[in-house]
Symmetry: C2
Subunit: 434 residues, 2 copies
């Protein structure tokens, strides 16, 4: 009787990482982690699964609908996390005593959202967040920006620009124009500027029944930006309006922020003030960031974040403020695919006869190191087959061992790039690959 | 009106990693990854969530009952993965064309089992697997053992012993004793030797209605082991019995296996032949491993695995053999807690006045590097408060900056171990921490 076989497949909206992509992702994370750590950030880990009520109160209605929520075998109402921020809020409230403040953490992990399946959108994706919790000082906001900068420099992903704004400035403008009651809708619409353009924003604002003059004023305001002379730009706005407290406060914070960044050895042109940066999420209250690659603007922001003044509002009556950002791992991987990836030397050892494997293993262990990938082809096959394997896997060198090499304590090394071949003594092989 | 607040808590059987533990885990993985890579193993990633039918056919009945299975918003019958092996089987069948054979992968990730809550057992835990797929050669089995060895050496976790057996030897013995129809039950019982002792195994075997003589023979056989002169040990068994093919084949494979390992610069005493190693799981068919720490034998095996001759049986009619192992991350972390962890230098910069922060940031960026954690305390607070923070977080040095230091372009460095304090010029601070 034929055995029943299940068709191997993944769920719609989910994906496997092939080795090449998993390697690129791992390499990326291996570059980010030392940067987070060098600023004193510590890793934490929380479960993928939480009580549903923990997750249900935060997040937009849309995200709530996308929740993977179910009843576990013990009858508990549970759900897969949809971000790393709500679990962080739960975590810092729960462990406040052990953690102490200020507390700086990074977290890297999968989150789940049952979004409509569409190209480039996945229902499970990786978030990489870092947050500075428990201090209101602008020093922290500047540190987060510095980490974004250092991360992108380390990834060598081409020219980038960190666009900075302050929610207080946007709130202040809404106050000045007398539309503060519409502020959440306005922010949501401004946040779409990238996608729907200026005309789209105009149309959407009209639907809020705002006056034409107000819409024009709003639009001309959010188009303001400054790349150079940020201090002068902010000073001139401060000179124009000193009466609206929230607006003034927002400008002063940005001044302090750039004063810090400009005193550090960072490229000034990598930072821009851009009043159209709104960040859709409700919980931001201060400085906000989005980051774009100059050569791939259409990718969208590859690193976003900002300051919030009450992270833990659903879990505690005590306020806990902070500032953080999230690196878009998947978008960065798309961008990095455009850049050449530098790899360690890759060497394949091929034994032509079964009796060569002891010698082959010995040769492998002589040259293997953390800087070199040394792989032993496990079977004695025709050279054609092992060379085709070497090409498929992108090896640079093949070390060939047959009976002659074995008897003479030698190896034949073939450089697959140049096709040059060379007979070497086993004692000089370490030197060859040094 | 008082806002309703949700009690922060994690699900029973789940856990948060506090920074100290998350850091230890990350450090452990950062040591393992370069080892896997240096043997030509590549990372892969599969979703946490799979179609339930993919997961349902494999795994023991017990594991099936522990499955986190539910119906998603699209009406699909889905489940959280309970291991990384079933997803691997699905993955290699599905992507066979792109992957090519042999294929060597490692995977690190969370798996979920709704086990009865008990101390030290978690419903979400980390697996770290590496597998060599698509070759029957003993060279592969030896390579897996070599990676286990290298990993434990790199982790510096104390003396360990990799215990090796071959399923074929156990099957052969069952044949010789005429009890091959009970082999699965027998293996399951032998696998519990550690937990229930020799008497417990005796009692359990009696319940299978085996004859007393058979039980005695079985027990005396599984107590055989060899640490030194493994070749002689195997030769003497081969000399005693050359008629039972399966048994002989098992011994010959072990001979070849140790011939390879003993030709490499590995400590011989780290390997042991132990006929009681059975591995409960049904799919093993050849050489199997378990690894124990000499100082913490009670932890159980910290790295187990073996050879299987049909990984993909549920997904394909084509056979795919391989050999792999799984490192017990959580058990190793328990063991590593006993050892001192070497950390990078940790330096806290403390500004005594608000106007010192620009200078403080500059000092921080001067000395920060991937080998040094340099943290800036974000607020100007009393020295007592920042020193207590430094002690809580385990900093070694505090760099103090007040108005005097700022004006003179100096810093005060306090070594928290020796309590010595020193005034330094800003230009010599890099040298000081070099």
């Amino acid at each position: 009787m034929d055995r029943f076989v299940i068709t191997p497949r993944v769920l719609s909206g989910f994906r496997d990482y092939l080795p090449e992509d998993a390697l690129a992702k791992e390499n990326l994370l291996l570059k980010l982690i030392p940067i987070f750590r060098s600023f004193g950030f510590l890793p934490i880990e929380t479960p993928h699964l939480e009580y549903a009520d923990i997750l249900l109160k935060q997040g937009s209605d849309e995200i709530q609908k996308q929740l993977y929520r179910f009843c576990d075998n013990g009858g508990r109402d549970v759900a897969l996390r949809f971000d790393l921020t709500v679990p962080l809020a739960r975590y810092v409230t729960q462990h406040k005593q052990e953690l102490g403040l200020p507390f700086k953490r990074y977290a890297i992990g999968s989150v789940f959202r049952g979004e409509k399946a569409q190209k480039g959108r996945y229902r499970e994706f990786t978030q990489c967040d870092f947050d500075f919790i428990g201090s209101d000082c602008i020093v922290c906001d500047a540190e987060i920006a510095q980490i974004i900068y250092m991360s992108l420099e380390a990834l060598n992903v081409g020219e980038f620009q960190i666009c900075v704004n302050n929610r207080k400035i946007l709130n202040g403008i809404a106050q000045m124009l007398g539309v503060e009651q519409n502020i959440n809708d306005i922010l949501r619409i401004i946040d779409k500027l990238d996608k729907i353009g200026k005309d789209g924003v105009y149309d959407s604002l009209e639907q809020l029944h705002l006056k034409k003059q107000v819409i024009d004023d709003l639009l001309s305001f959010i188009c303001l930006e400054a790349e150079n002379n940020k201090g002068d730009f902010l000073d001139s706005l401060l000179a124009q309006n000193r009466t609206h407290e929230c607006f003034v406060q927002g400008l002063k914070e940005l001044k302090e922020f750039f004063l810090i960044l400009e005193s550090l050895p960072l490229k000034e042109e990598c930072f821009k003030i851009s009043f159209c940066i709104a960040r859709g999420l409700g919980y931001y209250t201060g400085i906000v960031y989005e980051t774009f690659l100059k050569s791939m603007y259409s990718l969208g922001s590859i690193c976003s974040g900002g300051r919030y003044d009450n992270l833990t509002q659903n879990f505690s009556k005590e306020k806990m403020s902070g500032v953080g950002a999230s690196i878009g791992i998947d978008r960065l991987l798309v961008a990095l695919k455009q850049h050449a990836i530098q790899q360690n030397a890759k060497i394949l050892i091929v034994c032509m006869d079964d009796n060569c494997f002891l010698y082959g293993n010995k040769v492998a262990s002589l040259i293997r190191s953390s800087e070199k990938v040394v792989e032993l082809y496990p079977e004695a096959v025709k050279l054609k087959k092992s060379l085709s394997y070497a090409n498929m896997r992108g090896f640079e060198y093949v070390v060939i061992i047959g009976s002659e090499e074995l008897q003479a304590s030698k190896v034949t090394i073939k450089n697959l790039r140049t096709s040059q071949q060379q007979l070497l003594d086993i004692n000089s092989i370490g030197e060859y690959f040094y």
